[in-house]
């Protein structure tokens, strides 16, 4: 089978809910291994965009393609496959435990066994053997369980709506790690939030919805690089190029600094440094929140 690069494609999509034109002529693609963020105020159509991908609603005009297949009514109301979603606050069966809830959901597709469900619950920092009913969970615990249900079947496409709602600092770090894992495994991620800071932190490309149309906010993500040099003058030289550089603690006794930029990979970064005459001991890509 041909590998599909763009896992989600919106082509001139419009959608009206009630009397309100929520989306108007939306064009957007999300590729495998990419995180795309949508920001905008409440009620601007962010969640509608995610629902279009799940098939919970269909577009009035235009086409939504998921994993290369158009999301269409069909004869029986077809739904796209391999989509993991956390849309709005997760709703579980309140009287059952987290494990039981997720096992019931996993039984629908029968792709994974209970062991895999347990691993997903552990991955989000919850105890799969916790027999307390979900109704006794805190907001943060429910959100973690919601993230677990979205990732447990290792879908190709992940949709997150305000994913860090109710998460504490530890939960946010955990979520960041999960996102990284999923992207490395080739998942296409769409995330919507009214919190621009959160979106900027996780997403490669960022768009804003205004009056039903998408406006690019950032087309490419700045990556952070830890540059370890033999002497401070090399770091000064980088700074003199007008780049954003922050000196950090020495690494193995060598001077080091974090530099942010649009270099796609380590090779591109190394060739840039060679070009400006900087000799390095090592260069590593680090998390944006490393500093």
């Amino acid at each position: 089978m041909d590998k599909i690069n763009n896992l989600v494609e919106f082509t001139k999509v419009s959608k009206k809910l009630g009397n309100k034109q929520v989306l108007n002529d939306i064009n957007l693609t999300v590729a495998s291994g990419e995180v795309v963020g949508i920001v905008g105020p409440n009620g601007c159509g962010k969640t509608t965009l995610l629902r279009l991908v799940t098939g919970l609603i269909y577009p009035d005009r235009g086409e939504v393609r998921v994993s290369g297949r158009a999301v269409r009514l069909g004869l029986i109301g077809e739904l796209p496959a391999s989509v993991g979603a956390l849309i709005e606050s997760p709703a579980f069966l309140p009287q059952l435990s987290g494990l039981k809830n997720l096992t019931i959901l996993a039984d629908i597709q029968q792709k994974i066994n209970e062991q895999a469900v347990r691993e997903a619950i552990k991955r989000v920092g919850l105890d799969p053997d916790n027999r307390k009913p979900v109704k006794s969970y805190s907001l943060g615990m429910r959100q973690r369980l919601g993230i677990a249900q979205a990732i447990m079947e290792k879908p190709n496409i992940l949709l997150f709506d305000e994913p860090t709602n109710g998460l504490d600092q530890e939960g946010k770090i955990l979520f960041s790690g999960i996102m990284k894992e999923q992207v490395e495994q080739g998942a296409a991620v769409m995330m919507v939030s009214h919190n621009k800071e959160e979106i900027n932190r996780y997403c490669d490309r960022v768009f804003m919805i205004q009056n039903g149309t998408l406006h690019p906010v950032r087309e490419q993500r700045d990556k952070s690089w830890l540059i370890i040099t033999n002497n401070l003058s090399d770091l000064e030289h980088i700074y003199q190029q007008g780049l954003l550089l922050q000196i950090t603690e020495r690494v193995d006794g060598y001077p080091a600094g974090i530099c942010k930029g649009k270099w796609k990979n380590r090779d591109e970064m190394m060739s840039f440094l060679t070009e400006i005459g900087v000799k390095t001991v090592d260069v590593r890509e680090v998390e944006n929140d490393y500093i």
Partner: protein
């Protein structure tokens, strides 16, 4: 709430219902058949209680967002809808069985003997096996509640409101009862009248409506069910599955 209503209904009204028109139950089987064929109980009370149980079968999932978790894993909307109808059938079956068991218990508590033979004071004139009569009544209830419930589930997709759906159901139940009281000739066209075995089988209490037979009722249930599933598919296929309309 439905279960509490059900128990209240049985224990507070059953004795009154089952001693109508001078017909007195001589054993538990008589008592159960009497209660399940009592017109108000059969056409208004029990269907209304059943509707409390199932009126929000689809809407609650849509409103609390659980449908989203299911549908991202389902192959099609139709499969989810059919799963809901299967749940409805199981609910109808359990509801009928629970009703029977509660009647059985309340009959025993009333001091009636646990005897499964036809009593000479029975309602029906024809000599038929009492177990057969009971099975027929149970089948009418199970198929009737399933077909009627499916129809009201589809109504709930249009109204998008549980209370209005229940209200529609309750109104139709009352119409059935009014038809039974005042316009017996059109009774056979109403959904909950189909569960009224007494109108369909020769008995000592009332004159049967011409053409209103158990066969008619089963056909009526089948057609109502088929119509409801097709209507549901048409609606559910294109409806916005969101919390708000």
């Amino acid at each position: 709430m439905a279960l509490v209503s059900c128990v209240c209904d049985h224990f507070s009204f059953v004795i009154f219902f089952s001693r109508r028109n001078g017909i007195q139950s001589l054993n538990v089987l008589d008592y159960i058949i009497n209660a399940l064929t009592q017109q108000f109980n059969c056409m208004v009370m029990l269907p209304s209680i059943f509707l409390i149980l199932v009126a929000d079968l689809i809407l609650s999932d849509l409103n609390n967002g659980y449908a989203g978790l299911i549908l991202t894993r389902a192959r099609s909307r139709l499969s989810w809808l059919l799963a809901k109808i299967c749940v409805l059938f199981v609910c109808a079956f359990l509801f009928t069985m629970i009703c029977t068991v509660i009647y059985l218990i309340s009959g025993l508590l009333s001091g009636l003997p646990l005897d499964f033979t036809w009593s000479s004071h029975s309602l029906f004139t024809e000599e038929t096996s009492p177990s057969f009569v009971l099975i027929m009544i149970e089948c009418l209830y199970i198929f009737g509640l399933t077909a009627y419930g499916t129809f009201l589930l589809m109504v709930s997709l249009i109204l998008r409101n549980t209370v209005f759906t229940w209200g529609t159901g309750a109104f139709m139940n009352i119409l059935s009862y009014v038809a039974w009281l005042k316009m017996r000739e059109i009774e056979k066209w109403f959904p909950t009248s189909q569960m009224m075995f007494l109108s369909q089988y020769p008995n000592k209490l009332i004159v049967n409506t011409p053409g209103f037979t158990t066969h008619w009722s089963l056909t009526y249930h089948f057609l109502l069910f088929t119509f409801s599933v097709l209507l549901g598919l048409l609606l559910f296929r294109r409806i916005n599955l969101t919390r708000s309309i």
